[in-house]
């Protein structure tokens, strides 16, 4: 089946093997009930496990954006409720999905790569294969499905927290009152932006999870490799998330 060989090829070899991995991850699961259990486990792993750090960072990003923007506006002709509007727009369109996913790339990505890398090097993946388990759909499929559902949820929470953080910081520093800020939030509400945010979240989630799984699943060599694989997973995920961000911005905003 999936003989794992050395990286004999360059980028094309990896891209091809990556594509095959993704395809196989969504095919012929053995046991729906086993799969479901695994999906739930991964959902809590990805979702619950990252909730606190996402909330923390989003809050501060929202707060800092509000304060800095208010500082720039002070003394200008632009009304202060604009702060609410700008924080909302930037959180939804860019900061919530991108920053969250960069954090997730670091946290979840390294986690997944080292989990799978350990399984590979300790022959647990071989053991599954010997039993006749489709290792792709059992090990990687649930992680991808969990990411596709949990990452958008986390991004919604991130956006809400960021906007809330801006509101608190604005009123705490005395730049914008809560009612002004709220007026800004409600101003010119574009539904499409929410759609863009969720699309970004799903795509980034998929990208970072699949890349990290790839690095772990095809790890080989000694234990040092696990560390290297998870570093590669994080770096590559971050780069590809940003790259996908650019592509999506271009596709969706046109």
């Amino acid at each position: 089946m999936a003989e794992y060989v050395h990286d004999t090829g360059g980028p094309l070899f990896h891209i091809g093997r990556y594509m095959l991995m993704v395809k196989r991850s969504f095919s012929n699961p053995e046991r729906a009930s086993m799969l479901w259990k695994e999906i739930l486990r991964q959902m809590s792993n990805i979702g619950v496990g990252s909730l606190v750090i996402i909330i923390l960072i989003s809050f501060f990003i929202g707060a800092v954006s509000a304060v800095q923007f208010a500082y720039n506006l002070s003394g200008s002709m632009v009304p202060m409720y604009f702060v609410g509007y700008v924080v909302k727009e930037s959180m939804i369109l860019e900061l919530a999905p991108t920053i969250s996913c960069l954090i997730l790339a670091g946290k979840v990505g390294s986690n997944l790569a080292s989990e799978l890398g350990t399984m590979r090097l300790t022959e647990q993946i071989d053991a599954l294969e010997i039993m006749g388990v489709n290792t792709f759909s059992y090990l990687i499929g649930p992680k991808l499905i969990a990411a596709l559902t949990m990452v958008p949820l986390l991004v919604i929470i991130s956006a809400a927290t960021g906007i809330g953080g801006g509101m608190l910081a604005g009123s705490f520093t005395g730049y914008v009152s809560i009612s002004d800020y709220t007026q800004g939030i409600l101003m010119n509400f574009v539904q499409k932006n929410i759609f863009i945010m969720l699309t970004k979240a799903a795509v980034f989630g998929f990208v970072l999870t699949s890349i990290s799984c790839y690095q772990g699943f095809y790890a080989h060599g000694s234990a040092i490799e696990i560390g290297k694989a998870s570093t590669r997973a994080v770096v590559l995920s971050c780069i590809m998330v940003l790259f996908a961000d650019l592509i999506l911005a271009w596709l969706l905003l046109n």
Binding site: M1, E3, V5, H6, T8, E30, R31, M34, T118, T122, E123, Q124, D126, A127, E129, I130, M131, G132, V133
Partner: protein, 261 residues
């Protein structure tokens, strides 16, 4: 019965196995012996299909495994169990869950039937009161036992053991070896075991094949092992300093015989 025919395996330009042919018999513990790096693990992995051979065939009771598609291979895989060198237990699962895993995955047994079966095999390998421990909480010997339990829980027709006694003390090694022997005879399994432990070779070798640098240099039984006329095998058997004299005697005899011919 498992037959290997003209098997060869290359990694890039490195020829790891060359022209290996042999028959592994049912109800016997068939040993593959050889130095570290001689290709034992690669041979085992080619037989079970974790690696695909560059050339050659593997027949499981006459069926050509190499030529099968994935579904057909998976049929055969349901009938084989493997004990890995490092145990390869799933470390997020307890002993009980590890052993139950194949049942969960492939059978429609009820929860209580599964538990009964799990306890039956755990008892068979003498591992009681460890059901709820995680692999990290087990000693090396207990991990091996759990591995064996998991490998036999589905009543396999074929059992593969990669160095079942590496990392174990001599006494525990013997216990594990005996366990594998007993299970093999009791259930008439075709067992293939990799080892470089001379102790288990002498006691367990119903059938032995000796690999050297990826080639089969000799095959026979524990009874014929010490009479073998193969320089590499003699070096392998009498490797310790303690046996140096015996080795020299054997090698001189071999040389004398060869020069006569």
């Amino acid at each position: 019965m498992i037959e290997v025919k003209d098997l060869g395996k290359k990694f890039g330009s490195q020829q790891v196995l060359e022209d290996v042919s042999t028959i592994f018999e049912t109800g016997k513990n068939n040993l593959i012996i050889g130095k570290s790096g001689s290709g034992k693990t690669v041979l085992l992995k080619c037989i079970v299909g974790l690696l695909s051979p560059t050339v050659g065939h593997v027949f499981f009771d006459g069926k050509d495994y190499v030529a099968m598609n994935i579904d057909q291979k998976n049929e055969i895989r349901r009938e084989l169990g493997m004990l890995f060198q490092g145990g390869a237990l799933f470390d997020s699962l307890t002993v009980e869950q590890n052993v139950r895993f194949p049942l969960d995955m492939f059978t429609k047994m009820s929860a209580s039937e599964k538990l009964d079966r799990v306890n039956e095999v755990l008892k068979r390998v003498n591992l009681v009161n460890a059901n709820h421990k995680f692999p990290s909480q087990l000693s090396g010997g207990m991990q091996k036992r759990t591995g064996i339990a998991r490998a036999i829980v589905m009543n396999p027709k074929y059992l593969f053991c990669d160095e079942p006694n590496s990392g174990l003390d001599p006494q525990t090694s013997i216990v594990i070896d005996e366990l594998i022997m007993e299970i093999t005879e009791e259930y008439q399994i075709t067992t293939i075991t990799n080892t470089h432990d001379m102790n288990s070779v002498i006691t367990n070798g119903d059938k032995i094949i000796f690999l050297h640098q990826g080639k089969k240099h000799w095959e026979g039984t524990k009874e014929t092992l010490f009479m073998a006329e193969n320089k590499e095998l003699i070096d392998f058997i009498f490797a310790s300093d303690f046996l140096k004299e015996a080795r020299d005697v054997r090698l001189n005899k071999l040389k004398a015989k060869q020069s006569k011919q």
